[in-house]
Amino acid sequence: MGKLTPRYFTQPENPSVDPPKNSKIPEIIQFDVSDVKKKPWGRRREDNRTGKNHTKITKKFDKNKSIFKTDKGERKQQTQKKRYKVPKEWLDKYSKGEGVNLKKVKTNVHQKRIEHKEKQIQYATDIAAKTEILLTQDAGFLEADGGETTTQFTQKQIAESVDITAASKSFQLNLEFGPYRSKYTKNGRHMVLGGKKGHVAAFDWVTKKLHCEINVMEAVHDVSFLHLETMFAVAQKDWVYIYDNQGIELHCVKRLNKVSRMEFLPYHFLLGTCSDEGYLSWLDVSIGKLTSQYNTNLGRLSVLTQNPWNACLCLGHAKGVVSMWSPNSREPLAKMLCHKAPIVAAHVDPTGMYMATSASNRELKIWDIRKLEGPVQEYKLVSAATNLGFSQKKMLAVGMGNIVEVYRDCCTEAAKRPYLRHRFNNPIGNFNFCPYEDVLGVATARGFTSLLVPGSGEPNFDTYEANPFQSKKQRQESEVKALLEKIQPELITLDPTVIAEVDVATLRDKVDAKKKLLYVKPPKINYEPRNKAKGKGGSVKLARNKKILREEAKKEFIQATKDILPEAKDSKKKKKPFNVLDRFVPKKKV
């Protein structure tokens, strides 16, 4: 072996770092500590220590020198793995907001606490964004070759050119008890159909397995699944009925009278209904109680849609107004004048960002519903759109008479031509995009048609949120979980995140209350004079004393209220010093 190499401080290789040769005391070995290279930690240091392959390593170093040199001339750590860089759009997608401005936190302790919390949130965002690479499915698409447009492709063409399982999702049912209405379940696996003439059917539309088919022998205005495929509500001639998946009538809800449209809020277990008589009601299906019922005083209600982001119900009115309702207030939370003609259809996209409204004057407008602003886009259609529907990927289906047009990217930019178009022989009843599928289910006057709309659905589902492949056991378990997590109707507000934020409103209330103190009437004190001996002061003196005391109490009270408000005191004192140029300011009229 020869000479052992020193363990921790080897002689630096760099000649410039060598100990000066002309040092006066040669016995003392000098190290230039100022420029000692950092030793690598861990296993690599161990390797260096053995000295067996020492020369080899130095060679390797030399070889790689040029490769690992950056502009500054520093050598990067050799074995550093290249970290996966998360694209910015992913990070934005999972971002939880800007976070707290730490400089504004006054105390050191809280600053540290919040900093720690911010770090955790940042870490969670990063991790969530990284899970994007684990998603298994890609979204669908439809691309036209040169000289073609996607609009010209028919359903037949699309169905022929996709695989057989996907092609089986395009089908048609010819039924006689129309006009029909349809709804999908939250996981998009099951659907329920209701014909005006009483025909109600629920089935698994993927396997085409029929759950039940009944004729209720009454007019059917709307159908809707409740939280699971095992139960659905049917708005019949007079009342709302709830059936199970075998078609057995479970409930007849007579409190819901003459219902025209229904919407189910799955996280709140509320069945929102609007009636011909102008009533809007929320039925809690988990406890069977009517949460609230209001007369909107806005006439016949026939346009109802829910905002899936904040669970408000949006009503379209004949005056061109869209109003948003929560079960907590008798008045609408917001009203938007959207059109100058009666609103025919409205729909909110699943992320609650945009709302599409159409009116009888052939207008179609897209609104930014979070800010209650807009319109973001305005369109003039060939004929009035009687139906609207957003897909999970923000495609908009527009139904006009017997034509369905699907638009892509119509919210952010003005769409020039439809993405797809389909013409039916009969007028459309309603349509819905099927969640987690590239399918648009259209219920028409004489049946039901399932159209393929490539790229409309979310390709990757979350098993714990909505699972199209759930077994019976999983369904039961998720039902229990969902019931435990049922959001109380009190939490339905325009901004759903308000529960996790600082309660600013009450703080403002406190300040307001303080300000109001200035205008509070001073209370009258009750003064009862001592019974004095006769001759010592008459009733006049008594009255005067009383008056003096009252005045004093009043003064004190006013002073006390003024002391509470320091800013009120300051505002009087502070006056601007007179500026030379102030002489030109027009004098105030007395």
């Binding site: 996907a166 992320t351 990757n460 979350d462 435990l484």
Partner: protein, 445 residues
Amino acid sequence: MKVKVISRSADDYLREKKTDIHKVFRNYDPALHPFEAAREYTRALNAVKLEKVFAKPFLGNLDGHRDSVSCIAKHPKRLSTIVSGAFDGEVRVWDIPQRTCEREFVAHNGIVRGIVYTPKGEHFITVGDDKTIKTWKALTPQFGEDDAPINTVLSKSVITSISHHRKSPIFATTGEIVQLWEESRNEPLRTYQWGVDSLHDVAFNMVEQNVFGACASDRSIILYDMRDHGPLRKVVMKLRPNKLAWNPMEAFTFTVASEDYNLYTFDTRNLKKPVNIHMDHVEAVTFVDYSPTGKEFVSGSYDKTIRIFDGGHGHSREVYHTKRMQRLTCVNWTLDNKFIISGSDEMNIRIWKARASEKLGPLRPRERTALRYAEALKEKFASHPQIKRISRHRHVPRHIYNAQRELRTIKDKQKKKESNKRAHSKKGEVPYQPEREKHIIKEVH
């Protein structure tokens, strides 16, 4: 034309066999998980309610003493064994998991004042009102053998308490004077005196092992160093400290249970004022013991309740009481940080959980993550009124409830009186005195 449509084959999404676990696909896209805040709030509310549902701290009792329990000692090596002494001179060794008495004998003539195990747990030493210090074998005697002490020392003065050194075979006793003993000797190694008639409690520091503290009847707490000839320092309080407990993790922190219903945490470096005052008891606090983590301590009181305090907080996080439990004489936190053992006036020893709603036994990984998640949510939404109300609420017996109300009115009255005094006297005549300085009279070096 290029076209692709979502198409899922069921084989990819369903488990192959019934014995397999279900396949799980996650998509953390916030758009698919709406109402995040509201759902988290609901979960937090459920978690805090469930915590209340599962809060069943009482585990069982050890029944057998024929007089009030006076003292309890934990075995230093074994979690399952404790030994207790009673007011009739009886000593019992208990097996906690079996909840049986392994051994019983009369050790002293009169009250058993204190019991300690030796550091290795081979012997335990008892002191009693008959001025004797007796050493006993920890092992149960064989059949035919008698329960006899292996060593008996007759002290010249009364002995009221005992504490053992963490490692060496040295222990200290109190009485009229503080005496330091070696296990094998019959004469004290050293005695300490500081003009006090009697001392009633002594405790060795677990970290700084030569230091010990004692509570004296002249309302003072005295600190000693074993290596020194005299006492170190003392602090005189307004009312008598009953019991002293050293923090097992921080050498300089100790807590005393006081006669004035409060507990005081002191820093030995500055005895002039306590670091914290822990209020909540409504009668004299008789006993205090730290958890082995040093983060929390438990106290027993004359008001028939046990309270658990977080070291840094002024108010208790938990209160335990039963209908039948009488005034507490001793409360001990077991060395696995999971249980609390209390002895009280009505002859019973009770076993409690240290965290009322904790699940005993092993946790499965999913269970553990669920509990951690619930914990995080509770913390996140802790200040929401609904959640705060539920998590803070403790039912207390009527006598406590009434006493609390009474104390509050007394305190309010005193405050008002003081402020009135201040308003009607010269400026600076009635100075503001911090609560932490109110209860200390002086520190003596």
